[in-house]
């Protein structure tokens, strides 16, 4: 077996991360190769020594046995974030409204602008209705187009 392949297998074995089937084959191999067996033992000693060095015993552990207060803390944080968002939202709206009020371009309407337009169009339909009816090939779309054009003209101008 190549040295680097053998070393990798021995390392993984010493670190406890070798597939059991592979380990069984490796043990058979080591039984017939004393040099490799010595190398395996040396690596195992290094890993055992390192394990002993990194582990600490007798560490006092005093942790709360439940974490419900974490849940409450999380909920409190969520509630606080929601309240903060609400306050910021109201604040921004108030600022925008105030700025618009100062510049005098506040538009207050109880119905959407599009709805207003269609009402005006219908209201001004009468003056052109006769003309439209005299031309039966005109589509409904055309009728409403004419009506809307009539709606944009001042009533006095149309009377003339």
């Amino acid at each position: 077996m190549k040295f680097d392949v053998l070393e990798r297998l021995l390392m993984d074995r010493a670190l406890g991360h070798l597939d059991p089937d592979v380990e069984a084959l490796l043990v058979d191999y080591l039984a017939n190769d004393p040099t490799a067996a010595d190398q395996a033992q040396e690596l195992q000693n290094v890993v055992d020594g390192a394990t002993e060095a990194v582990r600490r015993t007798g560490l006092a552990i005093e942790l709360p046995s439940e974490i419900h207060r974490l849940m409450w803390r999380h909920r409190a944080e969520q509630a606080l974030a929601l309240a903060a968002s609400f306050v910021v939202g109201v604040g921004i709206t108030a600022l925008v409204f105030r700025a618009n009020l100062r510049s005098g371009n506040v538009a207050i309407s109880s119905v959407p602008a599009q709805a207003n337009q269609s009402v005006v169009s219908a209201a001004w339909l009468a003056p052109v209705k006769g003309k439209v009816e005299s031309l039966p090939f005109w589509s409904n779309q055309r009728v409403y187009l004419l009506a809307s054009v009539a709606g944009q003209s001042p009533p006095t101008a149309r009377a003339n």
């Binding site: 390192a50 060095a53 990194v54 600490r56 552990i61 942790l63 439940e66 974490i67 849940m71």
Partner: protein
């Protein structure tokens, strides 16, 4: 089906103490370690919608704990390193070989030491370490092998000096 709260409770029962052990040796005092465990689980609560997707809960917890620890150290730049804290506070050993080993571990490059400690101290699998450190599993293997090789060479040199 378990609620998120039950799952978090179970994770806390199973892993809080080992997380505390891991953090305690990297913090200047036990209270900080306890706070970081709480912060870790608070983060778990915040990410409770992801619990179902977590394939390796233990590795996931260690990854969060490491992030909390890193954040803590970023805030407090004057703190000694985790390795200095741990190995300095370790009880004096009459075994020279163990003392040499501790010294050798302190002198390992940080990424090798971190990887080695996750394997030997926390007994995380290679896959879990890869998840915690967010590195490929091949990198975990090579780091561990390099660390062991480093330690072996140090011990060999030490033995040659004493003979």
């Amino acid at each position: 089906m378990q609620s998120a709260s039950d799952v978090i409770d179970r994770l806390y029962g199973q892993h809080a103490n080992e997380l505390y052990g891991y953090l305690a040796r990297r913090c200047p005092d036990a209270a900080t370690a306890g706070d970081l465990v709480q912060e870790t689980f608070l983060q778990v609560v915040r990410q409770s919608d992801q619990l179902a997707k977590v394939a390796m809960p233990r590795a996931w917890l260690f990854a969060i704990a490491r992030n909390m620890l890193a954040r803590h150290y970023r805030r407090r730049r004057d703190l000694p390193t985790a390795a200095e804290l741990w190995y300095a506070s370790a009880p004096e050993s009459k075994d020279d070989r163990l003392a040499v080993m501790r010294e050798a571990i302190i002198n390992l490059p940080a990424e090798l030491r971190d990887t080695l400690e996750l394997r030997l101290e926390q007994e995380l699998s290679y896959e879990e370490i890869a998840h915690v450190l967010d590195i490929p599993i091949g990198t975990v293997r090579s780091r561990l092998h390099n660390a062991v090789r480093h330690l072996r060479d140090t011990l060999r040199n030490q033995e040659e000096k004493t003979q």
